[in-house]
């Protein structure tokens, strides 16, 4: 989260305006930060590693499945930015 706040320059008000002075909502910025680029790569990879750790070390297949689904979500949900 801290990384996202630093990378997105969270406190800068100009950040929330596009090139043609169109307001970009906070939720849109958050979505872009979490589901695209480096943010999504880190979150997806972390989720995958945590899933395998729980599977191998704790033998908990349910947490593994949840972590894998989260990993898929972080990897593919960013595509909606392009679709809509």
């Amino acid at each position: 989260m801290l990384l996202f706040l630093m990378s997105a320059n969270f406190l800068d008000p100009v950040k929330y305006f596009g090139g043609q002075a169109n307001y970009i909502s906070f939720w849109h910025s958050l979505f872009v930060g979490v589901f695209t680029g480096i943010g999504s790569k880190i979150l997806s990879l972390t989720s995958l590693v945590i899933g395998f750790w729980f599977l191998v070390k704790r033998e908990n297949i349910y947490i593994f499945l949840i972590a894998i689904i989260l990993s898929f979500g972080f990897a593919y949900l960013g595509n909606f930015i392009h679709i809509f």
Binding site: V32, F35, T36, G37, S40, K41, S44, L45, L48, G51, F52, L55, V56, E59, I61, F64, L65, I68, S71, F72, A75, Y76, G78, N79, I81, H82, I83, F84
Partner: protein, 244 residues
């Protein structure tokens, strides 16, 4: 059933079997582990009929059910993965995926299979007595049957889609969407126009034949690791027995 014999207070268990019907993979593995721990500490071998035919079918069906549940994941996720590799579908919101994205897409597609394979590797420690061995064989047999079914079902569905999606049918579908102004109503900008959508579906159609091969590979990732681990463990234990 419990009852009193004469004047003594001892409880006699008259149940024919302590085996309960496993409903899922976790319960089946738990039961195998319990029996393995009992059989490890026994001096005499249990009779093979202690694991009766009904219980064998239960273990077999758990394996089949587990594989068929996995079918849903494979059916939807495999074409998406091939789509990423063919640069039709973006990953991490990037339209042109690099080497990392391609490797990661493959890893994600196989992650569930690799995970199940690794999870089943723990059965190697339970492959000890007559009953435990029979339980493991039936469970893995069920998984194998289920995986073969899975590959066949996926192959049939993918090939049906590939054959059904002809140029004319895609054109008709896109024309129908255009008539109902779906892209304008839903604000879909990615394809720019309806011709872009038509081209995208044509490209995506080519993903399906290769998807069958990927499903086959993912099935191997589930079945091969536990079998190899059990074989290695058996060879090692035989060598140790010969040594002492």
């Amino acid at each position: 059933m419990a009852g009193k014999e004469g004047s003594s207070n001892s409880t006699i268990i008259t149940s024919p079997s302590v085996l309960s019907k496993p409903l899922n993979l976790m319960q089946a593995i738990s039961e195998i582990q319990q029996f393995a721990s009992i059989e490890k500490n026994m001096n005499e071998k249990l009779d093979s009929n202690y694991f009766p035919i009904g219980a064998r079918v239960d273990f077999l069906s758990v394996g089949i059910k587990n594989s068929l549940t996995h079918l849903l994941f494979s059916l939807f996720l495999t074409p998406i993965t091939i789509g990423v590799l063919d640069r039709i579908i973006p990953l991490f919101g990037e339209k042109t995926p690099g080497l990392f994205e391609e490797i990661y897409a493959i890893l994600l597609a196989f992650s569930i299979s690799i995970g199940f394979g690794l999870f089943l590797v723990q059965l190697k420690n339970s492959y000890v007595g007559v009953v435990s061995k029979s339980m493991i064989k039936n469970l893995l047999g069920g998984l194998l049957i289920g995986e073969i079914f899975k590959v066949f079902i996926c192959a049939i569905i993918y090939n049906t889609i590939y054959v059904y999606l002809t140029d004319i049918r895609i054109l008709k579908f896109v024309y129908y969407l255009k008539q109902h102004t779906v892209m304008e109503k839903w604000h879909i900008h990615i394809f720019h126009n309806y011709y872009g959508l038509y081209e995208w579906i044509l490209k995506f159609r080519e993903v399906f034949p290769l998807s069958t091969v990927f499903v086959l590979l993912s099935s191997l990732f589930i079945i091969v690791p536990p079998i190899v681990a059990i074989m290695i463990n058996s060879i090692k234990s035989k060598k140790t027995k010969d040594f002492f």
